[in-house]
Structure formats: C-alpha cells, structure tokens
C-alpha cells in the first residue's frame, strides 16, 4: 500500500488534516488538481539502531539451531549484527572477541509473544497502569507502543533470561484491545528506539470472561452494558468487522472515483476502523486471547465469515482439545506450561497442552504474559517437554526450542529476520551456562544483533534503568 507522499507535518493535528486543507485551497484557486489522499501506515517509525560490537566467535558449544537441529562442539560467528557462520573450527576475524563455549549451550534468542512490560511496568503504580483502554469494548484505535515506558526494569530482567525480542500487547478487557508492537529487547530513550524494524503490526482481541466481566455490570460503560455474555462478545466482533468492511468500501470507492477523474474528497478517517480494515486486508496480525476450546471454535468461524486470519490464540489453555482443528486452520497457540484454575475458563488447564499441540502438527509457542515468567521461558519449555515425554510424546530438546524462537517469530511475521541461527539472520543469540532445559542453568550472555545486552559474567556491564539509579536494587539484575 502506498504511503502519503507529503512532507511530514510537525503538528499532531495529523498529516491528513493538513492535506485536506491544502487540497481545499487548491480547489478554490482552481489551478491545481487534488492529490490522491492515502494514509501513512507507519506514523511512528522505528528509530532502532543496533548496538556497536566487535565480531564475536563462540567456540566448542552445544548449539541448537532453532530449526530442530543440534550440533555438538560447534562454533558460531556473529559479525555486523548478523549470524555469519555456524559450524566447526571457524576462524576468528581480526579484532574478534573469543568466547570459550566448552560445556555451554548456544540457542537463538527467546521471543516472547505476550508481554505487558513497559505497559504495566515496575513499579506497578496506578499511574503506570497503561494496558487496558477500558470504556468501550472495541478500541482498535489505541496503539500499545504509546503506553510503552522504555525505562521498565523488567526489560533488563527479561534480557537476563535470554529474551531478545518481544511483543507488547494491550490487556484483555476489550473485545478488540488495540494494536500490538514488536520490540528488540534493547534499552531505548523513546519507545520507537526499541521497535523491531520491519515487523508488521498485530492486534489484540479477547474472547470469553474478561470483556463480559468488565462491561457486563455497566460500571465501565454506563451507556452500553455490552457485552454481557459470550454471545454478546461475538456480536461485538462481528459488528466491528462489518463496520470495517463498510469503511473500506468507502475508501475503495473514493480511490476508484478519483482514478476515474472525478472531483472527490476522501472519507473521514476513523482510526479505529483503520486497524479493523487492516486486519481484513491481512496487514495486521490477529493475536486473540482465548482459553476455552469452544470459544476458539467460534472464532475460527468468525474468521472464515469475514475472511481474515487469526495468527495466534493467546493462553489457549484448552488447545489440546482441538489441536487438530488448529493445525488445519493454521492458527498458533501461545501457551503457559502449567497455569490453570485461577478463573473458570482456565479450569481445564493441563501440563501437556504444549506437547499435545505440537504432536497434532499445530504451531506451539511458549509465552509468559508475566514480568516474572518472561525471565525463565526456557524452564517453561523444559517442564512442558518433560510432561509430554511422560505420556509418550517424544520430542527432542532441539525441536522443543522452536516453541521459544522460530514459532514465536513466525507468529510475529519476523521469521525471515530472526528465530533461528541461520546465516544472514539477525544475531539474536543466547549463550547459556549449560543445558537450558535445566533449572540450574542461567543465560550467561544475551546478544541482540550481535551485541551483548546482558552479561552475567560481567555485572558492571549490565544496563541499569533510570528508575533504579540510586535505589536499593541498583544493579542487582538477578
């Protein structure tokens, strides 16, 4: 899709207003033809730049390539931010930093597809609670990146757990909670400094208990006590998509008429509908919070009715009951290893959910939804792997690592850039003190684009967020 080709306005009033104003004046003067108005789809562009680093060669480690392969005694060379080579007896380029990987493991960095870091940061004060735009059930117009506080110390703790990229999501109070954002896990001064360059947008939607609990009482929306039920939830999604179809038709008509030479004004922009229409156009990936199998089953039909794709079900506590259907419809499940029972729709959680989804040939992802869980997602994968094996689901550690890197990368649309240790990919890499499927193993060094962002062996190196300066916990990253 085209991007508005006008110089960017300094004013928040929006580029579009300025464009219309200019067009109006031109019209009155009658001298100029109107320009076709198109919408800038990237108004908050990434300002990420990779950290400087010498080339790094890790030697003689056990390497999981992220595609299901394992290599013993292997080397990995990172240079210019990329994976340069993985193999045996690699030569170090001039000036390279050498790291002895004997007895250690190397994996692709962990990617958490479900985080609220920055949005519900530490400290969790009321003034920091920026994750749920409660007030009306469809808020596709809010963008979670506008709530991200890059000084959240949680980002550093996540790096200490091997997290190299993550998706921030709005909360699940709303049927449509707003846009997500994918980040490189590096400190930034503004939120845009963390944005993963080239990552597509996603949107958070929510099934089940949460929206109806938030709105059913009327407390949070006195004019509209909806949704009150699960059927009310579904009516809400369907109406929002139907509205988006109408909105898109108006813009399509405008473009058609303009191209036919008619003197037409563009429709009024609707920020909410832009996101909904973006979903229908396949440009915005849908990450849908759903627990129960029947809720997911309903959403698969809504998806077919409006001809869009649900990229992932989030939490997906009952995916094991319909794993075959999820495989067939190509929907990922982002899951915990063992959370269950804290609310009714989580009551049927089992410890084998992740391996059962994997076994059915569906896309399984280990996610956190927790500032604590994100610090040890490797342990979550280990528990799930062990539980699957106990009932005969035979999965190797190398295969299981796909739950932590490749499958999350696929679901975020960044798998061409990261998620495996293939040559040319971003050097998002973790050096572990040993087997990462052991509780005793720590992430020793976490690299984003070939540069360390956390180094357990060199505490003085590690970043300290502004908030922690001068506080009792300053520098205590563990």
């Amino acid at each position: 899709m085209t991007v508005l080709k006008k110089p960017r306005s300094r004013f928040a009033v929006s580029v579009l207003t300025a464009a219309l104003f200019a067009a109006g004046i031109a019209g009155e003067a009658g001298a100029q033809k109107r320009e076709l108005v198109t919408i800038n789809k990237d108004p908050f562009p990434s300002s990420y730049t990779r950290l400087e680093s010498a080339p790094i060669l890790i030697t003689n480690a056990t390497v999981l390539d992220g595609k299901g392969g394992i290599m013993e005694g292997a080397d990995i060379l990172m240079q210019d931010g990329k994976v340069k080579r993985v193999g045996k007896s690699l030569k170090a380029p001039k000036g390279a930093r050498l790291i002895d990987g004997t007895g250690k493991w190397v994996t692709p960095g962990i990617i958490d597809v479900h985080s609220h870091l920055g949005v519900y940061p530490s400290p969790g004060t009321q003034s920091h609670a920026d994750g749920n735009e409660i007030g009306e059930p469809v808020t596709a117009d809010v963008w979670v990146e506008h709530s991200n506080w890059p000084q959240d110390p949680g980002f550093i703790r996540a790096a200490a757990g091997g997290i190299t990229a993550l998706q921030l999501l709005p909360g699940s109070a709303n049927l449509v909670g707003g846009r997500s954002v994918t980040l490189k896990n590096v400190p930034g001064r503004v939120a845009q400094d963390m944005k993963f360059p080239g990552a597509p947008y996603g949107v958070k939607m929510a099934c089940g208990e949460n929206p109806k609990r938030v709105y059913g009482t009327g407390e949070n929306n006195p004019t509209l006590h909806r949704p009150y039920t699960r059927m009310g939830n579904v009516a809400g999604y369907r109406q929002a998509f139907a509205d988006a179809q109408a909105y898109q038709r108006a813009w399509d008509k405008y473009e058609r008429d303009f191209k036919a030479g008619k003197d037409v004004l563009p429709p009024q922009r609707d920020i909410n509908m832009e996101t909904m229409a973006g979903i229908l156009a396949g440009e915005i990936l849908v990450h849908m919070h759903c627990y129960r199998a029947d809720d997911m089953g309903t959403m698969l039909d809504v998806m077919k009715e409006f001809n869009y794709q649900i990229t992932s079900f989030q939490h997906a506590v009952e995916s094991y009951k319909i794993a075959d259907k999820l495989a067939e419809d190509n929907v990922c499940s982002a899951m915990w290893a063992d959370w269950w029972g804290f609310k009714m729709e989580a009551y049927d959680g089992i410890r084998e959910n992740i391996p059962f989804v994997h076994k059915a040939g569906a896309c399984a992802i280990v996610h956190s939804d927790s500032e604590e869980g994100i610090q040890r997602l490797n342990q979550e994968a280990a528990k799930a792997l062990a539980d699957g094996r106990k009932v005969g689901v035979d999965i190797s550690k190398a295969e299981a690592w796909q739950w932590l890197s490749l499958n999350p990368a696929k679901s975020l649309g960044i798998d061409k850039m990261t998620g495996t240790l293939e040559k040319g990919k971003d050097a998002d890499v973790v050096l572990w003190s040993g087997d990462p499927f052991s509780v005793y193993t720590n992430a020793e060094i976490t690299f984003v684009d070939g540069a360390p962002v956390y180094d357990r062996t060199n505490p003085a190196f590690n970043p300290v967020m502004d908030f922690e300066l001068g506080q009792p916990g300053e520098g205590d990253v563990e």
Binding site: P123, P153, K321, M344, Y347, I350, Q379, F437, D476
Partner: protein, 430 residues
C-alpha cells in the same frame, strides 16, 4: 483412593472406610534401592532400605533385608526424599477464585479478624489437593490472604493425603500484614498502623502475676463469667509460645520494625514477604526470626520492594537465617521445587534448598517432632523421584503421605488421558 484400598480389591464401601481411617489400615511398605536424602543425621544414604509401618518410618538403612509381609517399592536408580512442605498457600480454601466459587482465603467483611480459624473452611475434596500432591508436595501451610484490615486470622498446617481430616496443626500462626496496603487500611500511614498493632498486642499481653487477694469478689466473679473470644484465645496462645506471629513485610525499614516488635513482646515471630530481607539479614539472624519467602522476586514492583533480588534466599542462609521457600498461592503451589531451583542457580546450596522445603518449614511451624526428615519415628511422608527433585524435568514416581501410598492421579491427569488421542466424542468412556 489410596493404592492400598485398590490392592485389597476392596468394594467401594470398604474403600471409603479405608480412606477415612487410612492410618488404621496403613500397610507395611519397604522402599528399596534408591538414593535417600534424609535431611537429617544420616545425610545421603545410597541403596537405602526405608521401612514404613503403621504410617511411620521405622528405619532407614543402607542395604538391609526387607522383613516378610512388606510391600516393596523399587526405587533403584531413583532419588528418595521427605515429602515436601509448601508454605504460603491457600490450599483447601479456594477452587476457582476469580468469578468461580467462593474464595475462602479472603474474608473482606469478617468483623473479628485475629480470631478467624481457617480449619473451618478447608475442603479436603478440592481438586487442587491431588494436583499438588502428585508433584511430591505432601504438606502445606494454608491461610487467609486478605481481610478487611491487616490481621489474617489463624493459618493451619495440613497434610495432602486421603480422607476428610487434613488438619495437622490448627492455629499454626497468626497472620499480620505490614506495609503500604496495611497502613492504608489503618489510617493512611505506617505510624497509624504500628500504633494500632502495639495497642492491640499490649492489650492482650498477660498482666504480671498479682496477688489474687487484691481483687474484690465481684471482679473475680466477672473474670470467671466472661468467655474468652476467639481473638483472646488466639493471642493468649501467642503469648504462651504455642503459636507464632507471621508478619508479612517487604521493605527493609519495615522488617527492622518487625524485629523491634519481637524484642518488645518476646513472642515467636516469622517473617514472610521479606523481599528486602537480605538487606537486614544479620539482624534477622540475631533476632532468631525465620523467613518464609518467594525466591523468584526480582523486580522493584513497588516502592516497598526496590531491593528485590533472586539472591535473597542465598544471602539469608549465608547469614544464618532459617528459611522456607514458598509454594506461592494455590493452584501452582506445586511449583515450589522450581522456585527453590532458581534460588540454587542464584547462590543457595542444593542442600539448603531441600531443607527450605522440608526441615525448614517443619521447624518454623512447629512440626519437627513428626515431620521433616527421613528417620525412624517420623511420619512416612516419602517421595520417590525419577531424578533430582529440584530439577524441572523430574517428577515423582511414588508418593506416600503418612504411610499411605496415593495414586498419581488428578483431575488434570484424567483430562490429559482423555485427550491424548483426540476423538469425536471424548465424553464417552472407551
């Protein structure tokens, strides 16, 4: 249902009797061939033969014969430990806390909060109990998590075996919360909170013995007539040393006030929460205050927990503080060994981590006579593991609770077995 009842081929009726009177039926069991970690005087015992009779451990020896009549559990190439004890749970008090069943762990409208006794609220049929015990946790401290004020009533120690009576120790502690939340309820400042706490405790403090002759007849009569309230009885036990005051506090400055409280009154105090305890570890050791903690705290989630670090447990033990690592909540209290494992990867020794799940909590909650080590005379809470019990990929292969071997089955394993192969109508029995 216990495995014993099954083995006996018992009818349903007998099985029910067997479950409620499990000790009367407890069989003689020998666990052989494993590596036993006794947490006690014998340390690690290779090729251990552990004999269980009448619900108790009768001996732990390297090698040795199995007397006739004992059912043998072969633990070759496996690890054997005491059943673990989870602290800081709400087991038996909650099933589905959010928009589900009543959560008996919260009592937001109760009038008298100190006297509340959770043993009235415990449901031994909770599905959380099998879910937890099949992971090797055989005991739990359970109690209230919030009330209208900052007193959390009296918590209990329970076992997680079969039967209807799970209570091992009623009134195992009296709970008190200190910190921002409590201060808010007390009038908006810690100054107000501590004033109220001291006033309440001073009021309950027994008078020094005086000569009864000083009292007139009417006064004596009034003393006799008055039936003590639940609160009064609870606080009397505290001052007699029969129970402890378990105080939740996180900020180092608040913890120092807790130490001062103990010095003032002299009763037993347990510290929990304790996020910044490492900052005053020496003072805690000197004051002989044990600590019940979550070893995973690592973030400055509030202004009371700015010093959060996963090295807390290791630093406390190094200073000589007795600790218990919590099971955190209810549904996933079973993750306690993972919690302990992360403490190990942040400086706690393996042995100290095992102690923090067995002898540590046993000492802290006054159970040492009957539980906490693998040695003759102790209750037979024993777990056989397929590897290092602290490792996350390890799980139990046999669990005994007070001598009764429980089945490794829960509502979750039943769901698992039902959906192992997906079918059109899983609701029908195969």
């Amino acid at each position: 249902m216990s495995i014993l009842a099954k083995l006996k081929g018992a009818s349903v009726a007998v099985a029910i009797v067997g479950a409620s009177l499990s000790t009367a039926y407890a069989e003689d069991i020998a666990i052989t061939g494993g590596t036993a970690f006794t947490n006690g005087g014998k340390g690690k015992v290779e090729n251990a033969t552990i004999l269980v009779s009448d619900g108790k451990i009768s001996s732990v020896n390297a090698g040795g014969d199995v007397p006739s009549g004992y059912r043998v559990i072969d633990a070759s190439d496996q690890w054997v430990t005491v059943g673990l004890m989870a602290t800081g749970t709400t087991l038996g008090l909650t099933e589905v806390p959010l928009s589900g069943s009543l959560n008996d762990a919260t009592a937001s409208k109760a009038k008298n909060t100190i006297g509340l006794d959770v043993t009235y609220a415990i449901d031994p049929s909770s599905t959380l109990i099998p879910v937890t015990r099949i992971e090797g946790i055989t005991r739990a401290v359970t109690g209230l998590t919030s009330t209208k004020d900052y007193w959390l009533g009296q918590g209990a120690v329970i076992h997680l075996g079969d039967g209807f009576d799970l209570v091992e120790k009623q009134g195992a502690y009296i709970g008190l919360q200190i910190g921002e939340g409590a201060a808010t309820k007390a009038g908006g400042s810690r100054a107000a909170l501590w004033q109220e706490v001291y006033a309440k405790l001073e009021d309950a403090q027994p008078e020094p013995e005086t000569d009864d002759k000083d009292k007139d007849k009417d006064e004596k009569k009034a003393d006799k007539k008055k039936k003590p309230s639940a609160e009064k009885k609870a606080l009397e036990r505290l001052f007699k040393g029969e129970t402890s005051l378990m105080v939740t506090a996180n900020r180092a400055a608040d913890i120092l006030q807790v130490i001062r409280l103990k010095k003032h009154f002299g009763f037993k105090v347990i510290l929990t929460g304790a996020v910044e305890a490492w900052r005053v570890a020496d003072e805690l050791a000197k004051a002989d205050i044990p600590v019940v903690l979550d070893a995973l705290e690592s973030l400055p989630q509030s202004f009371e927990t700015l010093g959060a670090t996963q090295t807390n447990a290791g630093r406390l033990v190094a200073a000589g503080v007795t600790i218990a690592i919590t099971g955190k909540g209810s549904h996933n209290a079973r993750l306690m060994p993972q919690n302990a494992g992360n403490a190990v990867s942040n400086g706690l020794s393996w042995e100290a981590a095992m102690d923090a799940m067995t002898v540590g909590p046993a000492e802290i909650f006054g159970l040492s006579d009957s539980y906490g080590t693998l040695e003759a005379g102790k209750d037979a809470d024993i777990v056989v593991w397929d590897g290092d019990p602290i490792e996350i990929m390890t799980s139990p292969t046999a669990v005994l609770i007070k001598g009764d071997q429980i089945e490794l089955v829960s509502r979750q394993t039943k769901l698992r077995d039902r959906y192992l192969e997906i079918t059109r109508s899983p609701q029908f029995k195969k």
